[in-house]
Symmetry: C2
Subunit: 326 residues, 2 copies
Amino acid sequence: MIYKESKAILQSIKQAKKILITSHKEPDEDSTGSILALNLALKKMGISSGLICKDKAPENLEFLPNIKKIELVNFKTFDFSRYDLMIILDSSSWGMVVGSELKDKSPNIPTIVIDHHASNQAYGKLNLIDINATSVCEIVYKILFDWGVKLDKDIAGNLLAGITGDTGSFRYPFVSAETFEIAAKLMKAGADRDKIIYNLLFSVELKELKYLSEVLKEATIDKKNKIIWAAIPYSKYVKLGKPEGSGFAGAFFQTVKGTKIGVFMVEKEKDVVDVSFRARDKIDVSKISVSLGGGGHKKAAGVTIRSMKFEEAVELVLATARKYVK
Amino acid sequence: MIYKESKAILQSIKQAKKILITSHKEPDEDSTGSILALNLALKKMGISSGLICKDKAPENLEFLPNIKKIELVNFKTFDFSRYDLMIILDSSSWGMVVGSELKDKSPNIPTIVIDHHASNQAYGKLNLIDINATSVCEIVYKILFDWGVKLDKDIAGNLLAGITGDTGSFRYPFVSAETFEIAAKLMKAGADRDKIIYNLLFSVELKELKYLSEVLKEATIDKKNKIIWAAIPYSKYVKLGKPEGSGFAGAFFQTVKGTKIGVFMVEKEKDVVDVSFRARDKIDVSKISVSLGGGGHKKAAGVTIRSMKFEEAVELVLATARKYVK
């Protein structure tokens, strides 16, 4: 057994009659890949499960095996009573699943939480939180190993997509010899790496590159505090065609010599600022993020600042960051 | 035996008295990592060898174990007669080692050529050309396996750096289950992945990001021919502080939806234009490059156009590219 929790999770699943699997809102490669892989694995084991999410996955994930099975739901009216077990992947809090407006309305059915965020609140009846895993897909790989499930092409493809996405193609922290071994095994089980790379990393819109160009133009180093940062106001965001991919742009902010952290801010709605923190050095940026009400990992974290003027939000974020880099 | 050539190469090495190891001019991660790893492995086997190169490796490779052992030489006056065997890594032609001005002056000692470029001319006495390998470091790993050499931390570190560099961190073609397995083994042998990532990918100069910003601003799609391209003239290149990293910028040119190839051109000296081709689709860009006098791989190739006005060079390159994408 890799995880001591694997057995209890399997027991709960086998005892349930109607299982629901979900991930966080605004799903990414890892959350989408992991729920799809778990659903396919359960199906192989003769257990059926429903797949739901608050938001649609980005267009470039449409190639993921079985993605059409994910039902988009409105959590305000969703009837949990039709189910007797919910498995929540890649979500450090209930609010991440349903959105902040519903964060205090817990579902009235038992939940299993599987996650790798250090900020996870262990809010499930059963919790498997491995903060050293690169991704939830890596955790699901290990759970399936513990359960003795043989991988097929589709399960492997979903898992490799999640690992590739959440590691920025094996660049980010926590990638270990074991992560590479898992990637090898997933390819041997049929995962199409070329297709994953093509869709995840080589399918950028020209407007995203133009956005990146503008973001990098704005990039400024606060030399005293060793912070590199950029902030895009709503007017500019609209002018650039409301591009996706703030993560794409933010990734550059941990690569620059002479800096400890990178901060990228974009006002995606009026008075709503998305903030990404990236650590280049040994600073734990999740602390900055958590102190502002957000979450995330040591090396990559984020928060959304609401109901605050752009300039004030930028000043608040930078002032907070400066305190933590000292 | 992974390579049938491994045995003959080992015999030649054991028979030699004075061995010289070299890579191409303007060395990168893979050429530097592979010559360092081979030198360290030979040393472990009780065989001493000299390490030379025409040019200094980029500053961000200074962390590579033993890099100070590489002697910078002037090939015009270099005395090959002190040696009786030369091993040339990662260089598709003799000109790539010594520079175009000396390309017709072959060394008067036996040579072993180890490479992964499809354009390699097999110009050695012994040649091991594996065009399916991600990198020469992957080839060296396999040769050392064939020879039964146990890896240590320093050999493994150099090899993982080369593989990471030449695959753009496991993104580019030819990365196989085996490549991931090798990466796992190198980490288990002590290769410090975090250090490699920090130095190779997270040590960018701010001026390189500003350069990237300008390059992306210039990026244009030729919709009819599905080519994305940009060209930076000498005046602009100087204004931007003569940044390194045209490869860094060029890498974006294979990621854009609706395109087949990317072409990035920069006039680094007056009337000397560096051209990088990147294939996003099934086009073999090495053919475009070779037809202009350059070389490279199917998915990434390059050429330097000399003694031609910038505008003419740009027009020539685009006209040639258009012929091949049809």
